[in-house]
Structure formats: C-alpha cells, structure tokens
C-alpha cells in the first residue's frame, strides 16, 4: 500500500525548535484531520511533508522515494497553502485568479481542468478578479480549487474553510468527499472549525507544541473519551490506572476527562455522571491550558 512517511522530523528556525521529532505515517485512501492551536506547527509540518521546506533533521518519503528535491515524489503531493495577499498589486496579489490557476496547474501532472471549472462554478468565483481584490473566503476557495483539481495522491489542505461562509463550507465538504470516493486520494485537512468537519475525518491528528500527541480513528476516539464528574473520591476511583486529562475541581466535586480502553464501557452510577464528549471538547481537554 502507498504511504507517506515522516521520520524524526525536527524543524528549527534559528534557535527556535518548532517541530520536535515527528514520526507520522499517512496511508493512501484516508482523510486525516490535522488539529492544533495557533502556532502548534501545522503549516510548518505540512510544508515540510510536501517538500516545500527543508527539515532541519529527519526524512520524508512517499512510497519509499525521498521527497526533498525529487520531482517524481513531489508530483504525488500537493500542499495548497493559505494565500496571504498583502494590499496592492505587488507579487501574487496582482495576478488574476485565472492566471494564478494557470500557473498552479503546471506543478501537477494530473491537474484536472474540468474539475477546476466545476469548482469555479460551484463557488461562483469571478476568475477575472485580481487576487488582491478577493475576500478571505474567496482566497480560500482558490486554494481549495488548486488542491482538489491537482488530483495529487497526497493532498494537504491548510485551513481550507477559513473565512468561508457556512454554505460554501458545506459545498467544500461534499465535493471533497465525492472526489475522495472516486479517487481514493489521501487528504490531510487542517482546521479550527472542528465539530463540523469531525465526521469527515477517518483519523484525527492532534498537534500540540510541535509534537503529534494523538493519532486515532475519529469515531473510536469519540467513543473512548468520556467526561466523568461527581464527588472527588468517587471520580478518583475511576481515574485510578486510566489516562486522565484536564481535571477540574469545584468544592467537593471533581470532573475529569478519561480515556477508556478500546471496547470498555463506563455507565452512569448514582455517584458518578459519565457523559460522552465531542471531538472539540476532547481537543480542548487534551491541548487546552490546565485550569
């Protein structure tokens, strides 16, 4: 099976180490959600994994081909970066959307013009406009169009829905799923809008301060992590010997986020309330600040 592998990826900017030895295997035909706080290193990781930036240490391979400076490997990967256009028409900002798309397609051997045309229509994007005249949401549409139309086996989306209205976000999820079903490509999608995208991720990756702290099947994770609350000693008894995150205490009452063993079930008792948690709540419990 085709895989993309990151081995021991370290990235330093000067003396500032932002990725601390990341090991990660992405399998073909899966949709991964990459979730992390601002500054966690998501964009850095994706740009290194796609060969756009060098790693300080470590190696990326796709189907055992080194990615760095290797066109055969690079042809299999698309990383559609967030477009940050500065005011005025300097640089990329001065390009019309259609010229930007024309330039982008030269990087991808499988680029699909028909899919591009369909997406332009679905998003009602005016391709004659200059990038500098587009809103944040419209710039996101441009990056989505490049990513989907690239037809690259490994495609990374960097906050594709940032600035998109709710209807356009829904359009993106549907078309991405459709393309995924047809092609069996691998998608990595980073996002801060966790809950609405949770159901399309087969697996989630939590990136916290330069480390992957979790890689799990989304549905299984949501089933395994519960919120337990009650009198302190009763909650402590349940926490004993289990992985526990984010403990809160109010008077005699205590609450904790608890990871159960696969298949294990914890029922409500008269003493302790056990509640399911959604992906966003789990992320906050694992990567948020301790109270």
């Amino acid at each position: 099976m085709s895989t993309l592998e990151c081995k021991g990826i370290v990235k330093k900017f000067g003396s500032n180490e932002v990725l601390h030895g990341i090991d990660l295997t992405l399998e073909q035909g899966k949709i991964y959600g990459l979730i992390g706080r601002n500054g966690a290193g998501k964009t850095t990781l994706l740009s290194i994994a796609s060969g756009q930036n060098p790693a300080t240490k470590g190696e990326i391979t796709v189907d055992n081909l080194k990615v760095w400076d290797n066109q055969d490997a690079l042809d299999k990967i698309c990383f559609s970066r967030e477009l940050n256009i500065t005011a005025g028409n300097q640089g990329v900002g001065g390009l019309k959307v259609k010229d930007y798309l024309k330039a982008a397609q030269t990087y991808f051997p499988n680029y699909d013009k028909a899919l591009e045309a369909r997406l332009i229509k679905e998003f009602e994007l005016d391709v004659k406009k200059r990038l500098s005249k587009l809103s944040k949401g419209m710039l996101s549409m441009v990056t989505i169009i490049v990513a989907l139309a690239s037809r690259a086996p490994y495609t990374f989306f960097d906050e594709p829905v940032a600035g998109l209205d709710v209807v356009a976000r829904e359009t993106f999820y549907k078309i991405a799923l459709e393309e995924f079903a047809e092609s069996g490509r691998t998608f990595v999608i980073s996002t801060h809008i966790i809950e609405e995208a949770a159901d399309i991720f087969e697996e989630v990756l939590f990136l916290d301060t330069g480390q992957i702290i979790l890689k799990e099947n989304t549905q299984e994770l949501v089933e395994r992590v519960v919120h337990v609350s009650g009198k302190e000693e009763d909650v402590d008894a349940i926490c004993e010997g289990r992985k526990v995150y984010h403990v809160e205490k109010i008077g005699r009452s205590k609450a904790a986020t608890v990871m159960l063993e696969p298949g294990e079930e914890l029922k409500n008792t008269p003493d302790v309330t056990v509640q399911p948690m959604n992906l966003q709540q789990i992320f906050v419990a694992m990567c948020g600040k301790e109270a």
Partner: protein, 120 residues
C-alpha cells in the same frame, strides 16, 4: 434516509438506525438495494469508512446482505428481525430502567402497572 444526524450518538450507529427506520416505514423494501456507502457519505457529509461501519452492523445482524460487485440489499424478513431486536433492546434499555426507578421511588408493582395504564 432524510433524518439529520445528531451529536448524541455515534454516527455509524445513527446510520444503521436510519436504514432500519426506512425499512420499518417501507421506504426501503425487502430485496431492494440500499444506497452505497459513498452515497451515504455524501448525503450526510461523513467519512465513507464511517458509513461503511454503520452498514456493516446491519450486514452482521442479517438485516442487509451483500451481492458481490452490485451492492447491499435488504434481506427478506428484515422487518421482522428489526422488530424482534428492538423489542429486546426496549426491555433492556427502558423496561428494566423503569422497574429500577419505580423501586427507588418506593412504588409497588401495582402502582407501576396503574401508571402505565394511565399513560395509554
């Protein structure tokens, strides 16, 4: 297949329950093809693997069966099967809980039966 997904339960369980509801309501008939996992994924904006998990629950319980290369079909007798299993679940999840709570409240068996009759 027109219900909406809630956050209360696992998505794949909701998918299997929705298909079951459609069978009970004669929206999906026995020996009829059910939507593919890719169709379900698109309708509900969920991962196809999750949709497949929901469908596979029904295959394992005999409600659906697979025709190789064609898709999933509703088994004959599926309706009866679903009813039977739901009755068993009703007993486990509701009836036992009701009896338990009635005991906690100090109610007699007669009190409980009277209450049920009133509710009708």
């Amino acid at each position: 297949m027109n219900e909406i997904l809630s956050k209360e339960k696992s998505i794949y369980i909701q998918i299997s329950e929705m298909i079951e509801n459609d069978i009970l309501r004669d929206i999906l008939l026995e020996e009829e093809k059910v939507p593919s996992t890719n169709d379900l994924a698109k309708i509900y904006t969920i991962n196809p693997a999750t949709a497949a998990k929901g469908v596979n629950i029904l295959v394992d319980s005999g409600v659906l069966y697979k025709k190789r290369g064609i898709g999933m079909f509703v088994s004959s007798g599926a309706k009866k099967l679903i009813m039977k299993r739901r009755k068993a679940e009703f007993y486990e999840n509701y009836v036992r809980a009701i009896v338990e709570e009635a005991k906690n409240l100090g109610m007699t068996k007669e009190d409980l039966i009277k209450m049920i009759e009133e509710a009708e």
